[in-house]
């Protein structure tokens, strides 16, 4: 397709709602991001307000980016929450307010003026990585996001493995240490309570309170200690940082090994701020930890454990993918 015709080709409007920020944009059928914008999500807002602001911002972004609105094939919308993607009802959303059972897909369609599809954020990111990133060509693909929380999207031949009520993939709430720390979910020793960003920061704070010598306080420089601070310390050889890293690697290794043992994926990709922040510091050690935990029948030489490649665009591209998959435009 030449540049001339591409300008008139159809594109997808898309929206990836994070914990505090919203990323919107327009993406063509080849996965090119034609325009993007980021804005803050106000807390505790009503669905109509959220959808109204999104519609206004999408139309304004189209105008300023010379995206012809008549060429917008549809809207893909990824967000945290419990939902039924078919009916388009969001039952509950942890990040968007206290409302319940909202026919979000219909609200989006009416406000934005194009067909709309919704998806859980972790699944949208997996769809993006399967389309254009770490999961390309993998029949069985698990994409794990390690950030403030830990979640995953599981794809079987390109389709989301949803489970009965749409909650499959909650790898962050699988039990790794039966007597481990209390998790937000009420269980003890969940992967999320052991290896997500807040858990890593907590471990550093505990080490400091125990009086261990570490450069972490200095690196934080009066700000809050984060996983990133801990990883920076570990890179510089700080023993506390390295000890915390070792634990995180072991927990992630068990979590991944359990998913690999149960699902036998061809590719497992690690994304999210914590995993991508750790990068190579995490990846090779996690691979070794997985190898220690997996039986010999798992062909770990060919099961690829990799980092996500799309960074913060994974969810946005996955949202676009919803439009192309669902509107039948999948195969040009």
């Amino acid at each position: 397709m030449g540049a001339e015709s591409a300008r008139f080709a159809r594109c997808a409007a898309c929206c990836d709602v994070g914990g505090t920020k919203v990323l919107i944009g327009f993406v063509d059928r080849l996965g090119n991001v034609l325009a993007r914008e980021r804005y803050l999500l106000g807390a505790g807002r009503e669905p109509e307000d959220i959808v109204g602001e999104l519609a206004a911002r999408l139309h304004a972004l189209a105008d300023r980016s010379s995206v012809d609105w008549n060429r917008v094939a549809g809207l893909g919308y990824g967000t945290a929450g419990m939902m039924d993607v078919e009916s388009g009802v969001i039952f509950a959303s942890p990040t968007q307010g206290a409302w319940r059972d909202v026919p979000f897909r219909a609200l989006l369609r009416d406000a934005v003026g194009v067909p709309a599809w919704i998806e859980m954020d972790a699944n949208a990111a997996a769809l993006g990585e399967a389309w254009l990133g770490a999961g390309v060509g993998a029949d069985y693909f698990v994409h794990i996001i390690v950030g403030t929380g830990i979640g995953s999207g599981i794809l079987v031949r390109g389709e989301v493995l949803r489970g009965w009520r749409g909650t499959a993939g909650e790898i962050g709430h699988t039990t790794i240490e039966p007597d481990g720390p209390l998790c937000n979910c009420g269980n003890y020793g969940c992967l999320e309570a052991l290896a997500a960003g807040p858990a890593i920061a907590l471990r550093a704070q505990a080490a400091i309170q125990q009086g261990r010598r570490t450069s972490i306080t200095e690196l934080a420089d009066g700000g809050a200690i984060s996983a990133e601070t801990v990883f920076r310390a570990a890179r510089a050889g700080d023993q506390v940082g390295r000890d915390i890293l070792d634990k995180v690697v072991e927990y992630l290794g068990i979590g991944l090994a359990n998913a690999i043992t149960l699902l036998n994926p061809q590719v497992v990709a690690l994304g999210g701020g914590v995993a991508l922040g750790g990068g190579d510091l995490l990846l090779e050690p996690v691979r070794r930890a997985v190898a220690r935990r997996c039986g010999s029948w798992i062909d770990l030489e060919r099961t690829r454990i990799v980092l996500s490649t799309l960074g913060e665009d994974a969810g946005l591209l996955g949202a676009a993918r919803l439009v192309w998959k669902s509107s039948g435009d999948e195969n040009l």
Copy 2:
């Protein structure tokens, strides 16, 4: 269908190969077992011998049971091992000998004289239970066999979730206790090393060696202590038996909760000698253990955790199901 026409209807030959025993039979399209026979599997035998004996026994069984061989639509064969069900090659089988990469499906077809299909034993049992037992009507179904080992079959809308290399479902080798006992697979703290029959017996032996007072020795009556002995003791109020049961319940609860969290099945069924031997002694406590480990988004009031209902016929009926699914006779 009347009894008269049923006699002339097509049926499936089927074979379920266990650790030491083989169950063969003929099953009609409604799941009626028309004839069955059990025989011992000799150790370390060649594929040709195994298949030759099977063919002879199936033909003899048909003769004595008035099954018209011309009405046999095909053969379904379930066994332990790593295999490619499409090509029909068994790469390795722990129970049938040291041979490797055997084109078993072709051997079966040639020896028995009908089209043949092969399947992993755990998947075959899941297919059986999904057809006629605990998994009927469940879009997402996990069937776990707890016996000498622990394995599972995962079905999504009636299809086996195989994974990339066909090894999905090895729930027995997910890590439950990171510092737990060594497993046959080389990992520590696998579910199988904690909750399968041999692990239960080992725990009883350890308690006896530690000098704990228990009726287990007496119940074993000079024979080997088994999970069944331990459960009998627990039923009678023996404290050692109860303590072991509590541990097994906790481990199974974590294993099931992790699978439920990752896969969100509608039904999880427990089969196999240990689980069915434990029966109600296990079931209700396991349900409570799962509830402690699962987040509130899992609708445990409607997620059914049940015992398998087909007993030792699950694998045989699942093998028959292979024939009906694959030969297009699925829907009468």
